[in-house]
Symmetry: C2
Subunit: 281 residues, 2 copies
């Protein structure tokens, strides 16, 4: 095991995710070199000033030159677009990875670009309300769970990506791209859009948000999420998101029927079943 | 203004709500006498031992004898059932009130029992996960908002109920029974049942609750609510709850269509509209 096991790491994107990863790798001195790229000069300057990266470039081709591992730390759409170019610009020994919260679009892109043997996608289960390098911190990944999609990559590349996340204090779990995206569609995207649906109805009914109690607040908090981040994800969502939304519609109609007909036995069944499920948490 | 402006207060029910009210009135010494009734001897004994009430009786008729004001602090169904009997057992100078979270069923009951001139319903916007006298505390109503339904009651009775809540540190707001119940149907009952609908779908899809992130947790927390408390409320819910549930079903289907057809412009509109509404909070 070399002293700095990650070799030369290039991080494309210096926002919350990429910036925090650069800070964390540098903090534990796990790489021979950390190079950053961002289209924004303010972010590059801030990352250099903070010592998060040793080098920063406005040209991503220059940034990936000589790298052992390239991390795409950018929104999904940008990552899907950039992966084939980065693949073409780097030799086959270079490990390609990313931190995007959906994996199938990148798995498909990696296969199409013939870099499936060296792309090892990752999704760290972290985040924050703020974005940009200014929100980044060296302990963002400490104790985080990171999904790793090894797909068809060879052992050497898998090991390098596992080592990356271990180095910054995270725990990795293997998953296949489709299973990962389905779980995200149900656990994250569906609750988001159900919150939007509920808030849309409350807005149409003229309810003031100040009338909400703690439960109503919880149920509409996601409705204030920024569309910018979400549209990118929704454009590539797993098909089970649509299935889940239609399922919620059916379930809401069914519950409405029970309330309307005062079928308290069925309402009790619905509530007991979900309480039992939720308490398994 | 007499030294102890509330006179002789009888609280029927010594759970979280009634027990806390007894403790609070006693703590500020606002009543000449606080009498409690509970069908459970353990609750009566606990309330006496804690000094929350000066007297406790196993017979509600005995407890309301000589009272200036009677507070029904019990679940909705029990309060609807008891209000006519308490009205018949007390002279017309006695103020009748309650702390139930729906007001129209009691307003209707008061009118039918010909006590509309002295029933002043109240709904303190407080609560807790726990119930029973053991969960009660003297500061439960401190700084709380209390909806007061004056209906057709005379000034003297209104003033006594306003004085009760002022004495325990709460702020009162007047509302009509129907408007109150509609707001509760939208702000509280609808979010509850939408959480059940979402959790029901996630359970059917086999998602483990441990896969939920912070947003998914928020959206399914209410799904673990106790059916016991809710069935009583849902049996008397405002008709706009059913309308709201069907509205959420329509909205969920509409959003599903947008996701399925990748109509990001419409998805963006939906999200921006709900974010704007939610930020008015």
């Amino acid at each position: 095991m070399p002293e700095r096991p990650l070799g030369r790491v290039t991080i494309l994107g210096l926002g919350l995710m990429g910036g925090s990863l650069a800070r964390a790798i540098t903090a534990v001195d796990a790489a021979e070199r950390v190079t950053g790229w961002s289209p924004r000069s303010t972010e590059r300057d801030a990352a250099l000033t903070a010592g998060a990266v040793g080098f920063a470039s406005a040209d991503w081709r220059q940034a990936v030159a000589d790298a052992d591992m390239v991390v795409l730390a950018m929104p999904l759409g940008a990552a899907v677009e950039m992966l084939p170019d980065v693949g073409a610009a780097t030799p086959s020994a270079v490990t390609l990875t990313d931190v995007v919260s959906l994996k199938q679009p990148l798995a498909d892109g990696a296969e199409a670009a013939r870099v499936g043997d060296r792309w090892v996608g990752a999704h760290p289960m972290v985040g924050g309300a703020s974005s940009g390098f200014w929100a980044s911190r060296s302990d963002l990944y400490q104790d985080a769970r990171v999904w790793v999609v090894s797909g068809t990559a060879s052992g050497e590349h898998r090991e390098r990506v596992e080592a990356l996340w271990r180095a910054v204090g995270a725990t990795t779990e293997e998953i296949d791209a489709g299973g990962h995206d389905r779980a995200m569609a149900l656990a994250s995207h569906l609750p988001q859009l159900v919150s939007n649906a509920l808030a849309g109805v409350l807005a149409s009914e003229g309810l003031s948000p100040s009338a909400l109690g703690p439960g109503g607040c919880d149920m509409t908090r996601l409705a204030s999420s920024s569309p910018d981040m979400w549209l990118d994800l929704l454009a590539h969502s797993h098909p089970d998101l649509v299935k889940g939304l239609r399922g919620v519609a059916v379930e809401a109609e069914r519950i409405a029927d029970y309330v309307e007909t005062l079928d308290l036995a069925e309402l009790s069944k619905v509530m007991r079943r979900t309480a039992t499920w939720r308490e398994r948490r």
